[in-house]
């Protein structure tokens, strides 16, 4: 092997090493990064569809085509609940790879060396999979659209796609991809037209006139047919109104809801364009250079090259038109602009290479260009996301272990909500929520009880626009009513920062059907009246006589339905009052704290069979009730309603309180004086004891009864 061949081999392996690291890093990091706003919204719709069946438009107010929820449905189909975002991350890799491939082939089509194309592809891949831009590493509908367009571009650009044997199929494939893009976002029609232009030109070389005409027909009809396929399908399924309300009517509301005239939209767009290029001068240089090259080389370009230039230009203008007409310039939307800009860059590099190569011959260094592109991408575009991806890849052992890791750092209020919900429903059951966030449901593994997952849909609040009843879809309350009949949710969740607005059918339904059971710092939890009754009051069951872990040497004094510990007994973590040897029960009675010198501290403690496992606790410390484990407080609430702060410490709590520890299969809650005060999820913990960590206590009327019927317990 010659020394040059050795270097080539070394460069190849080093490139494979770095590109491999990029792919691995992107896959593991984008699993986290992909969990963005719109993707979670789409997942909400998909999870609801899985739970209740029907079309996507019956399960969510979705103002785009069905491709996006279909892709997310596919992700749910091939993965578990916890593995869902890995599938989305994989799709992000595919889209990034397609765009990279399109850029690579564009550079080659304009005269660039094969390895130069690879280098361009690597840089573009890095930008879309690991770049700093907000549209990188996510799978919004616009990312899907640019992926579809890139796929169509690849087919249109490849000469071998248009040999007589393949031309019809290629026309069909391009037509389908463009049709799906337009169906997903109608405003992407101009970009789709631009890509179609390139395919149309490719037909020019077909000599057989009949074939040429057939291909032309296919190319013209297929996109339109695919675009109208969605409304046609829902018309046949008799679900046209649901589809049309989302895809067209709500999209129209979003357009008119900004209140801007066309002239105002254009002026606003001009300002944004100027601002954008001030922030991204590199893009401006690319666009300007592309325009200059197009004009100056136009006469020397052949027909195909001219069409490439023209298509990219139309695509680019179409992207800006889409953004200006959409009137919303969220950073995630700019992927539609980034792709034609990347193709412009590839075109410039292809031309530059051809000019230089003609002047000085082949470059010997070309073999190292992909490697240089890798290093350049990491250095110039920032390796932050790559670093995080490599960290995630290094620590990943399994999907379930990662899920456990995340569960371990869940926020306290989320833990309380999940634990309470687990007493009255199971995973994937419906939850009614008054919220503006898509993760309200996913964080507690529930599906939305209504298709209107956000209150804004029911209040007529348009994103970055006006609010008014004219923006509430005509059949909203009818569909809400149908949803409630179908879902019959066990719980309603209200964010304390966003209280339920009264005077609408939603509020009426909640007022009539639900009882508030928990008032927390972040959330108020309401349970359906029957469920609330089961949890808060339940059946007292039989009187119980608790046992003591230390037997006769224990300081606890137990009797029939009673137990007490003197205030002056030194705290002893091993001297426990055993209340329940297993799960699935309801321990109720009254307690009267007997504060010691350091106050009183009762800890209802859930232990596992293995002593090394963490213990879960429901604690009452004087007038504060909190959930937690041995190391962390999850959430804390006051036993009494907040009163005026006098600056003095509150007097010790010596009142007698009714209490119940409600233990389901997966969680437990502490009810005091008719309200849930704290709740924890149980993993390996199986038995309940009472540990006094300060002071003494008197327990009376102790009973053991059955758990709530929907708490996951048998029977």
């Amino acid at each position: 092997m010659s020394p040059l061949a050795r270097w080539q081999r070394l460069a190849l392996f080093a490139t494979v090493f770095l590109v491999g690291a990029m792919v691995v890093g992107a896959f593991f990091h984008n699993e986290f990064r992909a969990q963005n706003w719109d993707p979670q919204q789409t997942r909400d719709y998909v999870e609801r569809t899985i739970r209740f069946g029907g079309t996507f438009y019956e399960n969510g107010l979705h103002n785009k085509g069905p491709l996006e929820p279909m892709v997310y449905r596919l992700a749910a189909l091939v993965t578990s609940w916890n593995g869902f975002w890995y599938a989305i991350s994989f799709f992000v890799l595919i889209v990034s790879g397609l765009i990279a491939w399109a850029a690579s082939n564009t550079a080659r089509a304009l005269g660039g060396h094969r390895l130069l194309g690879v280098a361009i592809g690597i840089a573009v891949f890095f930008h879309f999979a690991l770049g700093k831009a907000d549209y990188a590493g996510v799978l919004y509908s616009r990312n899907m659209v640019v992926g579809l367009l890139a796929g169509a571009w690849l087919i249109a650009l490849a000469p071998r796609s248009w040999v007589p044997r393949r031309a019809q199929w290629s026309s069909l494939a391009v037509g389908v991809l463009l049709g799906l893009a337009t169906q997903t976002l109608f405003v992407s029609a101009i970009a789709a037209f631009a890509v179609g232009l390139l395919a149309w030109n490719a037909l020019h070389d077909i000599d057989d006139d009949a074939l040429y005409r057939r291909c032309r027909r296919i190319l013209a009809i297929t996109p339109a047919a695919v675009t109208v396929a969605a409304p046609a399908y829902y018309l046949i399924r008799n679900r046209f109104q649901e589809f049309w309300s989302g895809w067209w009517t709500y999209a129209k509301y979003q357009n008119t809801g900004t209140g801007r005239s066309l002239a105002n939209q254009l002026v606003y767009g001009r300002d944004v364009i100027l601002r954008y290029y001030r922030s991204w001068p590199v893009s401006l240089v690319i666009v300007t250079t592309f325009v200059v090259i197009t004009v100056s080389l136009w006469r020397t370009l052949d027909r195909r090259e001219r069409t490439v230039h023209l298509s990219i230009m139309v695509w680019f203008l179409g992207a800006w038109t889409e953004l200006v007409m959409g009137q919303r310039y969220s950073s995630h939307y700019f992927s539609i602009l980034a792709v034609p800009t990347a193709l412009m860059a590839a075109t410039i590099v292809g031309h530059a290479y051809r000019l230089l190569q003609r002047a000085r011959g082949e470059f010997r260094s070309v073999v190292a260009w992909p490697l240089v592109a890798c290093l350049f991408s990491i250095v110039a575009m920032g390796g932050g996301h790559l670093n995080q991806g490599l960290q995630a890849a290094s620590s990943f052992n399994s999907v379930s272990q990662s899920a456990k890791g995340r569960q371990a750092v869940e926020l306290g209020p989320t833990r309380t909500v999940r634990a309470t919900l687990d007493l009255v429903s199971k995973a994937d059951d419906p939850l009614l929520a008054w919220t503006e966030f898509p993760w309200t449901y996913l964080n507690v593994r529930r599906v939305a009880a209504t298709r209107f997952i956000w209150k804004s849909f029911m209040m007529g609040q348009i994103y970055l626009g006006r609010t008014g009843p004219q923006y509430v879809l005509p059949k909203t309350w009818q569909w809400f009513d149908e949803d409630m009949h179908q879902a019959n949710p066990s719980a309603f969740l209200e964010e304390t920062a966003m209280p339920l607005s009264q005077g609408n059918p939603f509020a009426d339904y909640v007022n009539e059907e639900f009882t508030q059971v928990f008032a927390g710092a972040d959330y108020n939890i309401y349970l359906r009246n029957d469920q609330a009754d089961d949890v808060l009051r339940g059946q007292p069951g039989a009187q119980m006589s608790p046992t003591r872990t230390q037997g006769t040497t224990s300081k606890w004094v137990v009797g029939s339905g009673t137990a007490s510990l003197a205030a002056d007994v030194a705290p002893n973590a091993d001297d426990l009052l055993q209340l329940s040897p297993g799960l699935c029960s309801r321990i109720s009675g009254t307690y009267t704290a007997v504060p010691g010198t350091a106050g009183s501290f009762l800890s209802f403690r859930f232990d596992s069979a293995r002593a090394s496992d963490e213990k879960m606790r429901l604690n009452i410390a004087d007038r504060q009730v909190f959930s937690g484990n041995d190391n962390t407080v999850f959430e804390s609430v006051a036993l009494d309603p907040p009163s005026t702060d006098t600056g003095e410490p509150p007097p010790p709590d010596t009142a007698t309180h009714e209490f119940a520890v409600v233990i389901g299969k997966y969680s437990a809650a502490l009810v005091i004086d008719g309200q849930i005060r704290a709740a924890v999820r149980l993993t390996t913990q199986t038995h309940l004891s009472l540990e006094m960590r300060n002071g003494g206590v008197e327990l009376a009327g102790l009973h053991v009864g059955p758990p709530p019927p929907d708490s996951g317990c048998p029977g």
């Binding site: 392996f13 494979v16 770095l18 491999g20 890093g25 490599l390 890849a393 290094s394 620590s395 052992n397």
Partner: protein
């Protein structure tokens, strides 16, 4: 009659799969690509979790290496610093950056084991033995107790890297002896010798004599080749002496002497009596140090005024007498090593796994397949290696001799790593153990390869 047309799947397999698999150039490239990806995944698993800014140094030895590197190779003090020069040189070349050094040493470590696989695939003739050797070499490289050292600024990683490279190069030399291959093996050995001073005794005891004896008595080779053998024998001898003298001169070995006296000599009446006879100054303060190392009790042994005379002895004559004792009381030390072997072999080095590498790389192979972890395992591995050498002896005599010598040097290495210092013995054993397992794998693979070849030749002959 027209020949039957192949099915599209068959055509595809012929055209895409089999055609490529029968093309050596394609296999070579595909192998390289797979190796690159494998190396990338290994590095991500070992380093990724703490990447890029969480590699901290906390071992005193790490600071010592950095200090040595800070002297720079342009200063004579660098060559007589507290550490042999190889690792400080690497640190110096990488700007004494912890992160960069960790990455580079992990890359070198991975490349060394991949090089081992490549050499094994080239030397061994039968696919079964290639597969066995390749998998075993990769398994050794992946073992958490070895891989975790890549995350530390210590010489263990580079030591294992250079040990693997030098072993593979000597094995390659033994297949087709020549001046060029000898040169490569010699250079790698010099690099290995200058990583850790404990590498010197095994080479002095086995490598240097073997080269010199071969240079005089190896009939059937030309004079130039024998001169080369002699030259490399002398060069490596000089390097050994250089390492030994500089490490002795800087006084670092006094720590090992102090540790050994406190932990191993004083608790043994016979040894204590011998050392006293040889001039070791005793005192009640020294007797009080029985069972303690020089670092215990806030460096009492290094600081106490009552032990000044003892420390002075340890700086000079004590080191020589300690060396003599390794030979004079060899049965005693071997017995001690034998007693400690179960703990030493079975150690997963978890105390050093500050970056939790063991949680991210595959665990050691079960059933001691990845190397001995008990006395019985060591015995079986040694027997298997010996059987391998015996099987290879007839048709691959030189390979058998060279691997046998390497194996012998491994046992000396093991012994010297054990007796050399009684503190952090488990850490000191890492290098010798990884080298020993590697050599044993090569012995077994060579023997199997010879046996398979012989069986197949016999079958061909009888057919």
């Amino acid at each position: 009659m027209e020949p039957a047309r192949k099915r599209p799947v068959g055509e595809f397999l012929d055209r895409v799969v089999w055609a490529r698999l029968s093309n050596p150039a394609w296999i070579s490239v595909a192998g390289g690509v797979c190796a690159s990806l494998g190396l990338m995944i290994f590095m991500v698993r070992v380093l990724g979790a703490s990447w890029p800014g969480q590699f901290k140094i906390f071992f005193p030895d790490s600071f010592s290496f950095k200090n040595a590197a800070g002297l720079t190779p342009f200063s004579p003090a660098f060559y007589a610093a507290e550490r042999p020069i190889a690792f400080p040189t690497l640190l110096f070349l990488l700007g004494r950056s912890t992160v960069v050094t960790v990455v580079v040493q992990t890359l070198l470590y991975g490349l060394a084991y991949l090089f081992g696989v490549r050499v094994a695939c080239r030397i061994l003739r039968q696919p079964e033995s290639r597969l066995l050797a390749g998998m075993a070499i990769i398994a050794i490289g992946l073992e958490p107790r070895f891989a975790l050292w890549n995350t530390h600024i210590l010489s263990e990683s580079l030591g294992m890297t250079l040990a693997a490279v030098s072993v593979m190069l000597w094995w390659r030399f033994s297949v087709t002896p020549g001046v060029v291959r000898l040169r490569w093996a010699g250079v790698a050995t010099i690099a290995w010798l200058t990583v850790r001073d404990s590498n010197v005794p095994p080479w002095m005891a086995v490598g240097v004599p073997a080269l010199l004896i071969a240079s005089f008595w190896w009939r059937g080779t030309d004079a130039e080749f024998r001169r080369s053998l002699r030259r490399w024998g002398v060069i490596t001898l000089v390097v050994c002496l250089g390492v030994a003298v500089t490490q002795s001169a800087n006084g670092r070995n006094r720590y090992a002497t102090l540790n050994n006296v406190g932990l191993r000599v004083l608790p043994d009446a016979e040894l204590t009596a011998w050392f006293v006879d040889q001039g070791m100054p005793t005192s009640p303060a020294l007797v009080e140090r029985t069972g303690s190392s020089s670092f215990d009790d806030s460096w009492e042994m290094l600081k106490s005024p009552a032990l000044e005379e003892f420390r002075s002895w340890a700086r000079g004559a004590g080191q020589r007498q300690m060396l003599v004792s390794y030979a004079r009381f060899a049965p005693h030390w071997v017995g001690a090593l034998y007693d400690d072997l179960p703990v030493l072999l079975n150690s997963d080095q978890s105390a050093y796994d500050a970056f939790h590498v063991a949680q991210r790389v595959p665990p050691a192979l079960p059933g001691q397949l990845g190397g001995p972890t008990s006395r019985m395992g060591l015995l079986i591995w040694t027997l298997l290696a010996a059987v391998g050498l015996a099987l290879a002896a007839r048709r691959r005599g030189l390979q058998s001799i060279v691997l046998g010598l390497l194996l012998a040097s491994c046992f000396i290495d093991l012994y010297m790593a054990y007796v050399g210092d009684s503190v952090e013995v488990q850490r000191h054993m890492v290098g010798p153990l990884s080298r020993m397992v590697l050599v044993m794998v090569l012995c077994i693979a060579t023997g199997l390869d010879a046996a398979f070849t012989s069986i197949r030749l016999r079958k061909v002959g009888s057919a």
